[in-house]
Symmetry: C2
Subunit: 163 residues, 2 copies
């Protein structure tokens, strides 16, 4: 409503609150067709994209991580979640140490082409453990009355996960 | 399994694949107690934190955005989603133009204290429209056979949303 001087038309608007840019950068015609879907992802300055992992069935949001181009390609190729560890500076095959592999059912991309949503089955434990603390989901801290409260149980001692 | 020379103990491990740092930075004693929960969030270099909005009931992941400290404080205070628009460089009261306000049921924080998960009801339309394209969710593009396919319907013409 006149809060900023941009066109109100949808194609110029973005869901991060921006009203600039194109959702889909034009793919170069010289690119290999098989890789075009990777070119369509809007990688950030560090070549990464945020990724949300949601559990198949329960629809619980399990975790949040990052992928680079290679990680996303590997995820699609292998059907298991492969992230990029920003601190280690390398691919992170989820479950490579814990055994808590994530089988991937679907890969989605948002309207701005800059966030990925994975639908996964969390392997390695009867009730899936996605979190390094031994909990089902990484989102176990809930805000209440001015404080964060840990509201989900530890399903397995982390010391016994990373042996 | 010996892939990097760090301690296998959980407190030094993180869910983004890092094995460094503390999940909860110690809160300064001089801080106002009421603001301590905001200090516990690990804001990035730009003072932001990624935010996932998940629909109450359906558990659909609706959108992904960012918050700064003020946005998170406002969200908790008002019980409606307030994000930070990186391109506009200011607070973004979700629904301020579209009327598609998000009522907030819960606010969660992940194990590394650097990602927020909101449980919301998407207001303004019978089937909630979170996306600027007029779709229910921003994650309407699905990967299949080497391409992204738009697999969710447009519920309302964006031109009529942003009038």
């Amino acid at each position: 409503m006149g809060k900023h001087a941009t066109s109100p038309h949808a194609p110029a608007r973005r869901c991060d609150g921006s009203a600039e840019g194109h959702a889909v950068p034009p793919g170069g015609l010289s690119h290999n067709v098989a890789m075009k879907w990777l070119d369509e992802v809007k990688w950030d300055a560090a070549g990464l994209v945020p990724v949300i992992a949601q559990e198949h069935g329960s629809k619980d949001v399990l975790m949040f991580a990052w992928m680079n181009r290679e990680a996303l390609a590997k995820t699609a190729e292998l059907g298991r979640a492969v992230y990029y560890s920003r601190s280690r500076g390398k691919l992170w095959f989820k479950g490579e140490e814990s055994g808590h592999v994530q089988t991937v059912h679907s890969i989605r991309l948002d309207c701005d082409n800059d966030v990925v949503l994975l639908e996964v089955t969390q392997q390695g434990h009867e009730l899936g453990i996605a979190c390094h603390t031994g909990r089902h989901s990484c989102f176990f801290q809930k805000y209440e009355s001015g404080r964060w409260h840990a509201v989900e149980p530890v399903l397995k001692d982390p010391e016994s996960i990373y042996k």
